[in-house]
Amino acid sequence: MDQGSQETAVGRRVFLGLAAFAATGFVFGSQIQGWLERNVGPLLVKDPTGLLALLPIGRFRIYSVTASLPSRSRADYRLHVRGLVDRDVVLTYDEITAMPKTRLVRDFQCVTGWRVPQVPWAGVRLADVLDRAGVKPEARAVRFVSFDGAYTESLTLSQARRKDVLVAYELEDAPLTDEHGGPVRMYVAPMYGYKSCKWLDTIELTETVEPGYWEHRGYDVDGWVGHSNHRDDERTG
């Protein structure tokens, strides 16, 4: 039966179609994603159900390197500054927020490719925090330790003194939540996200830059957006 039936190789067509999509995506995905984030991203924010936020457009992806999400209340929070300083300093959350506040609006770029456009951050300049403790002349670098118990990061002292490097306590004009690294985290505007240590516990002045958690796993120590990790993203600072 069915001698006259026309057969279509649908399986092959589906495969070729998906392969063509993938090939296009490999080559132009960067531009397509950028276009989507500029044109579709703003619309998704207005979706009352929040379901569209699951689409891979203009969204943060939450990375943590330990078993549970670190959590510390604002009342219990303490920021330690130590190492090559004139005096060890311990700051409470209220003491940090009482310092001069800086607000920055920048794209947030992850080294894995995603980018969240125009994110407002607020906090105090790291330089101001360092000055509170007094940096000894032999100090050349700053090391950050997370209270997650595993994550570390570093900057050179001159990078740390930039005006767009913050000890941040607000994201999108609201207090930082646990998942975004609250109550207090680093925000290094001109560098990829991994340079901005979440759940900040300790700032230590050191003689040399010590590679951080991901840098032991292959990422560049100088994580400038657009000039490191074999990437050429548009700069963020």
């Binding site: 399986g11 999509f21 992806r61 999400l69 894995t112």
Partner: protein
Amino acid sequence: MSAPAELERFDRVERYAHWTTASLFGICMLTGAALYAGPVSTLVGQRELVRMLHVSAGLALPVPLLVGVVGRWGRKLRGDLRRLGRFDDEDRRWLHKRSRPAAQLGKFNPGQKLNAAFLGSAIVVMIASGIVLKWFSLFALDTRTGATFVHDWVALGIWLSVGGHILIALRDPVALGAMLRGRVPSRWARMERPRWFEAETGEPAGRRRDPAVAPTPPS
């Protein structure tokens, strides 16, 4: 000659291939969600472990099918893959609502064929893009962002395809039972897959084929 009460629909090799592939897909989808979606990442944490699971399950995805398809024991799976890859006139008739009741389907319906074709192709695309994401330092700048783009959107397609597959299977316990036990009642095959029934039993399924003559769906 009268048809047996039950027909073998999937042999043991096919069922093992299906369920191991399904399990690996499940692991990839759940660990993928944990790596991707904020609230799920928050619940799960353990990013290094989750990522290791995701990569291992992903690389293993094609293994059950490749093992199942070779040699003498893969004869039935090879035949079914051939069937799944082709649309004929009856499939096209099924795709139109008006003529669907009269369509004389073979072993698979067009939805099953498209689902198999998409998920099979997706294995290749996800492994290719996943390799770029995992061993990123070997690849050019934009390729990595492009691979993320492909991996994300095809993952969304996989969730829809697998989700639909599971929902439809749950609504048809006989079809689901075929993948669990391997067998279906001949009655079901005669009604739902008449041309497969005819090929298996050598008996006519006894359904009229012309939609103009038989416009109402069978009860």
